[in-house]
Subunit: 345 residues, 2 copies
Amino acid sequence: MQVTIKDVAKQANVAPSTVSRVIANSPRISQKTKERVKQAMEDLGYYPNVHARSLANRSTQAIGLVMPSAATKTLQNPFFSEVIRGISTKAHQNGYSLYMTTGVTEDEVYEGVISMVQGRRVDGVVVLYSRTDDPVVRFLQESKFPFVVVGKPFSDSSQVTYVDTDNYLAGREVTKYLHELGHECIAFVGGSQDLAVTQERVGGYKTALMEAGIPINEDYITSAPFMTTGGADAVKRLMSLEHPPTAIVVSDDMMALGVMSTLNEMGISVPDEMSVVSFNNLFIAEFSSPPLTSVEINIFGLGFEATNCLIEQMNEETPPYGKRVIVPHYLVVRQSCGGSGKKAK
Amino acid sequence: MQVTIKDVAKQANVAPSTVSRVIANSPRISQKTKERVKQAMEDLGYYPNVHARSLANRSTQAIGLVMPSAATKTLQNPFFSEVIRGISTKAHQNGYSLYMTTGVTEDEVYEGVISMVQGRRVDGVVVLYSRTDDPVVRFLQESKFPFVVVGKPFSDSSQVTYVDTDNYLAGREVTKYLHELGHECIAFVGGSQDLAVTQERVGGYKTALMEAGIPINEDYITSAPFMTTGGADAVKRLMSLEHPPTAIVVSDDMMALGVMSTLNEMGISVPDEMSVVSFNNLFIAEFSSPPLTSVEINIFGLGFEATNCLIEQMNEETPPYGKRVIVPHYLVVRQSCGGSGKKAK
DNA sequence: AGAAGTGATGCAACCGTTTGCACTAAAATA
DNA sequence: TATTTTAGTGCAAACGGTTGCATCACTTCT
C-alpha cells in the first residue's frame, strides 16, 4: 500500500501532525526535527496524497481548462497548443497543475465545467474561447468562482476578468498598412461571426477604411467558419466580384493558408496580384509560401497572463473584480504583401 | 459552504450511506427511496466532492497526460492537439477526465509524473512521446502503474503497451511510391535521431531502396531537429551535392512545409523539379502550396486507441501486459509529387 | 523558589465519501 | 405460531491528510 504520513511519523519518531507541519514548512518546528522528518520522507519515498490534502484543505492545487467543444474543429488550430503552453508554464511556476474537461457537444462541455467546479476539483478556471452569451461564463459568474477568459467575453465584460489582444487596434493597423502600400480595394475574410475576435477585427478594419476615406463595401466583408472549406468559398466569391479586391485581411493564419492555397489554384499570385495579411503569427506563417505577413499577438503571453490573473484572483478573498489585461501585438512583415495595388484601380 | 451528502441525507430523511448507494445505483436500495434521494439531490444542487470520493475509493476518475518538455518546441506541432482530441474523446466516453503536468525541463516533467502517480492523482497515464531509454517510462514500469505509450517505446517494448503507426512500413511505402513515379535519387529528411519514429521511417526508406536495387547513399539521409531551421539546412545541403536528389521523403508535414519553403526560396519548383512526400497528413497539408502528398496516420485514432488500451489495463488487476496496437495508415496523394525523375538521371 | 513566558510537539476533531456489517420489519417457511 | 429468509437501511470505521488547542519541558523574571 501507499506510504502515508503516519509511516513517516513512525519512522521519524514524531506525530503525524508534525510531519504535516514539516511539509508546510511551519516555523513552529525545530530545524533538527525538520531534518529528521525530511530524511524519513526521503527514505520511505513519501509523496502526499493529493486528495486527502485537498479534502482537509479545501484547496486543490489545480486549474481547470475549458476548451471549445471538440465538435468544432477549432481545436486543431495550433493556437490552443500555444495558449496552453503559456498557461502551463505559469501554472507550473506556482505549483498548480492543469485539469481539462472536454466534451463533444456544448452541453457536455457545460456539464463538465459544472462538475469540475461544484465537485471542487479545481481552484479556478481559464476559459479558452469567448462567445456571445456563453452559459459557461454565466455559470461561473453566478457562482462567484474565480475564472479568467482568454479573449474578450461578450456580455458584461466589465465584470469579467479577461486578457486579450487589442483586436480592434490590430485590425485597424493591418488595414492601414495595406492602404499605405497603395491598396484601395481591401477585403476582409473572418471566422465565425459570433466570436468576439472576428467582430473586433472587422471593426478595426472598417475604421481604418473610414479614416482613409474609403467607403465600406459590404461585399468585401465575408466570414466563414474555417475548417470546412478553408475560406475557399470566400475567395471565389470575392474574385468573382465586378471589382475584385487587391488585398485581403484574413482573420487567422490557418485561414490565410487556405485562402492562399485557393488563390494559387486560381492562378492568382501572392503577393504580385494579391496581398494577404493575417493574424496570430503561428509558426506556420514563417514556412508558408510565400511566408505570411502576420500580426504577432503573443499567444503564449496570453495564456501566461491569464493564469497570472487567475492565480491573483484565487489568492484574494475579495470577490472577483473585472480586471482587464491587454497583451501587446506587432506586425511581422514577410512576403505576402505586394507593393502597390494602384494598378488595379 | 458546499452541499454535502449529509445535507442530502437529511433532506431525504435517510442516512448518508443510503445517498451514497443511490449515487452508485446500488440494487440494494428500493426504487422509491432512490426517487426521493434523487429529488433531494436535485433540489439542493448536490455534486459529489471528487476528492472525498477518490480518498474513500482509491480511484480518481482521471487519466494523466505526459507531454514532452515545453523546452523543445515540439508542442507546437498540431499533432498534439489531435492526439489529445482522440484521448479526450475516449476518456470522456468512459467518464474519465484529463490531467496534465508539464514542465519546462525534462527533470520537471519527470518530477511531475512522479508526484502525479505517487500522489494518486490519476489512475493511469498516457505518454505522448517515445524516446530512447526514457526515465519516465522506466519509472512507470518499475512501479507497475498502468500506462500506455503513443509511439513505439524504445527499450523493452515487449513489456510495454503501446499504440503506434507501422512507421517502418509507411516509410517503405512512400519511398516505393516515389520510385514508381520514376525517381531514383531519393533523399530522407527526418526529425531528431533519438525518436523512434525517425529511425523506423528511415529504416523503411532504406528497405524500399534496397528492394528497388538502389544503393543507399548516406549523403541523402539527413536529420535535424525541426523548429530551429525548419529543415532549411538539410535542403541546402542536399541541393549542394554533386547529384542532388529529385525527391525527398520528409518525416513530418511541419518539416515538409519548411522544406518546401526553402526550395521555393531557392527557386526550385515543387513538384516539377522536386517531389516531396511526408507523414501525418495534418490539415495544413491540404492547404499548403502545393498541397502535400502525405501519409494519413490517423492521429486522432492513435489517441483514442491508446486511451482504450489504458482503460482496459486499469480495469484488470492482472499486471500490465505488453499489448501492441497498430493503427492503419494510407497515402493521401495531392500535388507535391512530380511525374518522373528520370530526366535527372 | 514560585510564577510567567516561550518553544516544540502531540492529541483529536474534522474534511466528505464509501462500505462491511449489524439491525429491523416484513415475508416465507416449517 | 415460531423460525428462518430476505429486502431495505443505518452505524461507524476507514481513506490520508490539516489544524486549533492542550501539553510539557525549559528559561527567564520577580
